[in-house]
Amino acid sequence: MTFTVDERGGRRSAVVEARHHAKNARGDRPPRDSYALFLLPGALAFLVIVVVPFLMNTGVSFTEWQGVGSPKWTGLANYRELMDDAEFWASFRHSLFMVVAMAVVPTVLGLVLAAALFDFVGKHFGSRTAAVLRACFYLPQVLPIAVAGIVWSWILAPENGSLNELLKAVGLGSLQQDWLGDPDLALYSVMGVMVWVQLGFPLVIFMAGLQRVDPQLYEAAELDGAGWWRRFWHVTLPQIRPEIYVVLLWCTIAALKVFGAVYVLTKGGPGGATDVPSYFSFTTFFEKTQVGYGAAISTVLTVIVLLLAVVGLKLQTRAEDAEQGVVR
């Protein structure tokens, strides 16, 4: 029944649309809502898998609950407790370090590398050489984070670890460390691993972005006597600004959500030195079974991520609009 109505409506809409099209060259006004049926499966699935659990999690964050029995409403008690919880603040402080390691450093390095590969290697040594190098930098990105964790925790092991052995082999044995076991070092070691994991993503996006830059801009700059750095600064950077926004936004959000690497490399240790909000909420949920408190942690994390996403997307569209305005 619905189908036939829909179909008839659809057929009429084609005619209306065609007529409209003839009258008004833009013709983007079909009767719209008949397409809403196609959204139905997706909308239902989202309701059940994302919206309901998300609301449940938020609701549980106002309760005290062990995961069994019925939750006890405690209002904002969990959030008040969070404010005084040193572990909570430490985990968010470590998040900032992760943003540096997963967003800031890879973006900066990725920009320089992308420009060097595209504008320099590609030109002087052929695009094939550039593609091979790009592939090497991208490779860690396809690795499951759990596997990357296994590889690095073995490389960074205090006894017989490759890094320590390497230091010894080149006569720097005095620099050997317990990279993941020393509370003063562990966070920096994890950061180093995350730079390795993350670098390929900005690099590949920036190289893709550079392909749409008009080569004449570079030629003109070169004719004006601009050196490599000046061209990088005045041509490359402004031209791929949209990509820089996207990469920074995505990587920052990924950094706030980092879990697998911490689980496999350090389990948040030693002594909480590498604890991050997602790992903190995970242990609170499943090891301490303080579900209400864990829900409060993950709700705070969600609010931060979503705020960042909304602000980031706003800034991005505004920047794009501004750019298009200039072009027109």
């Binding site: 809502d33 196609f38 997706g42 590889v151 949920f285 997307l313």
Partner: protein, 273 residues
């Protein structure tokens, strides 16, 4: 620019690239060493021969074949399901231009950015209630929806620029919306759909948190979870660690080699948006 100035830059880049692949090389070297050789010569020596018993032992001990099958089933089903869901959503948003599509799209983007930590306990709890806990199906359902959020976002923007004349022509010829979708929109969008399939497959393969929580029995675990859990328990000696790492790395490298073009093209598609 003179060759004298060119080569140092290239050299620096090559050294950087070597540093990126070095861990892969070290792992491969050590995965084929015998434990005796490893303890005698350390991790940096070249292997004296190819010793595959470590790999074999590890494969049997964790039943790696089963883990591979699980990963393939889960990632494959998610990739297919999420693409179908994305296509339907994107058709309504990008071509149907339903009312309030900006908001619908914003909703999907935000759903994709949502930390899984905010879903994990309710999903764990609800799947227990529904009798789906510790089944591959539960993970398939959840990731189909989560990946479809990204697919909807990407595909809707691609379909938004779909040449409308083609659709109008088909509609005038009497095709209904369903026929237009499967006979015109889907075939024309095949490149983007291919990209999404590859991405969804690899992303799901690499997922860790939700499968870790949802798949506790050995028979259901994915490669990522099985390796991560073993590592977390620190039960492995060096040879076994390397066998595990190598077996974990290999599928990723195979995907990479097979899909490298699709991946970079996909990233280009994604970056423009």
């Amino acid at each position: 620019m003179t060759a004298l100035r060119r080569y140092p830059v290239l050299l620096a880049l090559v050294i950087g690239a070597l540093f990126m692949v070095l861990p892969f090389l070290i792992v491969t070297l050590n995965a084929v060493k015998s434990p005796a050789e490893y303890s005698a010569n350390g991790p940096l020596s070249l292997p004296e021969g190819v010793y595959l018993d470590g790999l074999k032992d590890f494969w049997e001990r964790v039943d790696f074949g089963q883990k591979l099958v699980n990963s393939v089933i889960i990632s494959g089903s998610v990739a297919l399901g999420a693409v179908v869901l994305s296509v339907l959503n994107a058709y309504a948003i990008g071509i149907g231009r339903i009312k309030g599509r900006t908001w619908v799209l914003a909703f999907f983007v935000l759903a994709n950015m949502l930390p899984q930590e905010a879903l994990v306990y309710p999903v764990y709890y609800l799947s227990k209630e529904a009798g789906l806990y510790d089944t591959r199906l539960s993970v398939i359902i959840v990731f189909t929806v989560i990946q479809a959020a990204f697919g909807t976002y990407l595909l809707a923007s691609v379909l938004g620029q779909f040449p409308r004349e083609i659709i109008e022509a088909a509609r005038i010829d009497g095709a209904n919306k369903w026929q237009v979708l499967w006979r015109i929109v889907v075939p024309v969008s095949r490149p983007t759909i291919g990209v999404l399939l590859v991405f969804f497959f690899i992303w799901t393969w690499n997922e860790f948190l939700l499968p870790l929580v949802m798949l506790i029995s050995n028979d259901n675990q994915t490669v990522s979870v099985a390796l991560g859990v073993l590592q977390g328990q620190r039960l492995m000696d060096a040879t076994m660690t390397n066998a595990a790492a190598l077996l974990g790395v290999l599928p990723a490298i195979v995907f990479f080699l097979v899909f490298q073009r699709t991946l970079t093209r996909g990233i280009a598609v994604g970056a423009v948006k």
